[in-house]
């Protein structure tokens, strides 16, 4: 029996999830929900998926096993809460919540109900970042001395009014949208940031939200480093996210396409020579049955659906992990106001 899935919010990510759930061998896309009649009419005209404008009605009537919530961030809380209360496994887009007390409530509700919960920090399903995490765990860099987490891309490249993404109350802005990915990567790969200093949130073209965020972060371990994110940089064709780790034994620069390792001395166990070794995503990409824009988008849904089938919690991108990222975002906002 295939799992019955529904998607709430049909923006870029919601449509992308719909296109991935549709052909999934273990799932059936049963229903979608959005407020745009244009999008819903397209589903009505070309597919057999049921369409809804009210998520409550969809959840109450469609007998779903899981939902994917891809609405603007401020709607995550009420929708995820309702889905969990009805006993539905829930995948939520990032960032998770705008208020950490609401996020906490959702984490404990999901735990109490034993429901699979996952958030869309898809970088953890990119082979190069998985390899970076493995190499750091194997301690190939020795004692770490510094990190840099970066993301650049061409989202807002001229001055104009906008959508919810230009409204700070709705979770718009580069910090929530772009930087959350980098913060979450730092958190899961290098360690959890516990302090932010010297934060700059710069408006470049937007009027109400920052287009760039720079901050000095201190991790639980005491390691310090830099966050540098700018979504108004048109020298990048699309979002480009990277992490650099520097240790006493060498350095690693990692992004979605390659991992560049520099070692002061050879590491025979890892078969890494002295000096530079460059490895590519071709070696690490997670095989998927259906590809849309990157293996990671399918791989994260495979993980979520796999967890539901195996009746186990996701070890990657749980609500609790995403809540931790929300807390760090709060720290950065608080520091920027100092």
């Amino acid at each position: 029996m295939k799992l019955r899935g529904g998607i709430i919010g049909l923006g870029k990510m919601g449509l992308s999830h719909a296109a991935i759930v549709g052909p999934h061998p273990d799932a059936e896309l049963v229903a979608v929900c959005d407020t745009s009649s244009l999008i819903l009419d397209a589903f009505k005209k070309f597919t057999s998926v049921n369409v809804h404008t009210d998520y409550i009605r969809m959840i109450d009537n469609e007998k779903l096993d899981f939902v994917i919530v891809a609405t603007p961030t401020r709607f995550h809380y009420p929708i995820v809460k309702y889905a969990l209360e009805k006993g539905i496994h829930t995948f939520c887009e990032k960032p998770f919540s705008l208020r950490t007390n609401e996020g906490e409530e959702l984490v404990s509700l999901a735990d109490k109900k034993w429901l699979v919960n996952q958030v869309g920090y898809h970088n953890h399903f990119i082979g190069t970042f998985i390899e970076l995490k493995r190499l750091l765990k194997a301690n190939i860099l020795g004692e770490l001395v510094h990190f840099t987490g970066e993301a650049y891309g061409p989202v807002v490249t001229k001055e104009k009014g906008g959508t919810w993404r230009s409204d700070p109350e709705e979770g718009g802005g580069c910090l929530f949208d772009y930087a959350s990915h980098v913060i979450n990567l730092i958190q899961e790969i290098a360690g959890r940031p516990v302090n932010a200093k010297g934060t700059l949130r710069k408006m470049i073209y937007s009027k109400n939200v920052e287009d760039a965020v720079y901050s000095m972060l201190t991790l639980e371990s005491g390691l310090t480093g830099v966050l540098s994110v700018n979504w108004s940089d048109e020298t990048y064709r699309k979002m480009s996210t990277s992490l650099t780790l520097i240790g006493k034994k060498g350095k690693i620069i990692c992004d979605a396409t390659e991992i560049k390792i520099y070692l002061k001395e050879a590491n025979p166990k890892e078969k890494l020579g002295k000096g530079w070794t460059i490895k590519y995503i071709t070696e690490f990409a997670i095989p998927v049955d259906f590809y849309l824009r990157g293996e990671e988008y399918s791989a994260q849904i495979d993980n979520f659906i796999g967890c539901i089938i195996k009746k186990k919690q996701s070890e990657i991108n749980s609500f609790a992990q995403a809540l931790s990222t929300d807390r760090i975002i709060d720290l950065i906002i608080a520091d920027s106001k100092n």
Partner: protein, 287 residues
């Protein structure tokens, strides 16, 4: 179709392996003349087809070709639309309706324009046709015997199971542009099945084909089975698996599938272009 098709990724900073390489390419091909120079070198080796996205900068290359009919009169371009990042970045910023408003020509909210009427009536096929026309405008007067939809759109429509959209695209391209429709995909087996299900037979499909199985969704085995047994006109791309394979072993692998009609590749130096072209012509059995 020619056996060898020259691609455009190298001109637009598309490297599937390295952001650094992307930047080098962006710097090298800053001026249109640098692109034209490499295209001319490709022509000197005997290449006669250029497959390119509907990137803004291609418009300038098209102008150059139209202004030099003696040289480019018989040259073919295979356009691939749309240039997806333009839309993807716009959707993040403007939302879906905002993006349609930005890119459908004319005032989409005015009922007096074709676009306005299509929008108001939710005439999706009409909107698709308007977007196709907008994307293809730059190729007016240039030979475009095959016109492709690019993989993000193909695979999105495929995943959403909106197969009727393929059918509408197919007939519009044949009727309005007197050209053969083509499809780029990362999901070859699923796409071929979907196209066949709406009556599109023997389609031109451009997809990754490489010895590593890189970007061959569902696995190498099912691709190999389709390449051996099914009826379609394959163009192989990503044959070097983004540079992970040596050209000779990569193209030897393609030689195992006589159905493959063409190989798409990009390169920036004349030697490299010549070398790859020779390998394709020697090792590919078809034609």
């Amino acid at each position: 179709m020619d056996k060898v098709i020259f691609g455009d990724n190298q001109f637009f900073a598309v490297s599937h392996l390295s952001d650094e390489k992307s930047r080098e390419q962006a710097i090298r091909f800053k001026d249109d003349s640098a692109i034209i120079k490499v295209l001319d070198q490709a022509m000197e080796t005997g290449i006669n087809t250029f497959m390119c996205t509907t990137h803004d900068r291609i418009a300038a290359i098209c102008d150059h070709m139209r202004n030099n009919p003696g040289k480019y009169g018989n040259f073919n371009i295979f356009p691939c639309m749309p240039y997806a990042h333009k839309y993807a970045n716009a959707v993040t910023d403007l939302g879906i309706v905002g993006t349609i408003k930005q890119y459908v020509p004319g005032n989409i909210f005015s009922t007096f324009t074709k676009g306005g009427v299509a929008f108001l009536r939710k005439d999706f096929i009409g909107l698709m046709e308007l977007l196709v026309d907008a994307e293809l405008k730059m190729f007016k007067g240039i030979n475009t015997p095959v016109i492709f939809i690019q993989n993000v759109v193909v695979d999105m429509v495929l995943g959403l199971k909106m197969y009727e959209v393929f059918k509408a695209f197919d007939s519009y391209i044949r009727k309005k542009y007197n050209a053969e429709p083509g499809y780029i995909t990362m999901n070859l087996p699923a796409l071929l099945d979907a196209l066949n299900s709406v009556g599109i037979e023997n389609p031109i499909i451009c997809s990754s084909v490489n010895k590593l199985g890189f970007r061959m969704s569902g696995g190498k085995e099912i691709y190999e089975r389709y390449l051996s047994e099914k009826q379609f006109r394959p163009i192989a791309m990503q044959v070097l698996a983004a540079g992970a394979l040596r050209p000779k072993e990569a193209i030897e692998y393609l030689g195992r599938f006589p159905k493959i009609e063409s190989v798409l590749f990009g390169a920036s130096s004349k030697n490299h272009i010549q070398e790859t072209k020779n390998l394709i012509e020697t090792l590919l059995i078809k034609n």
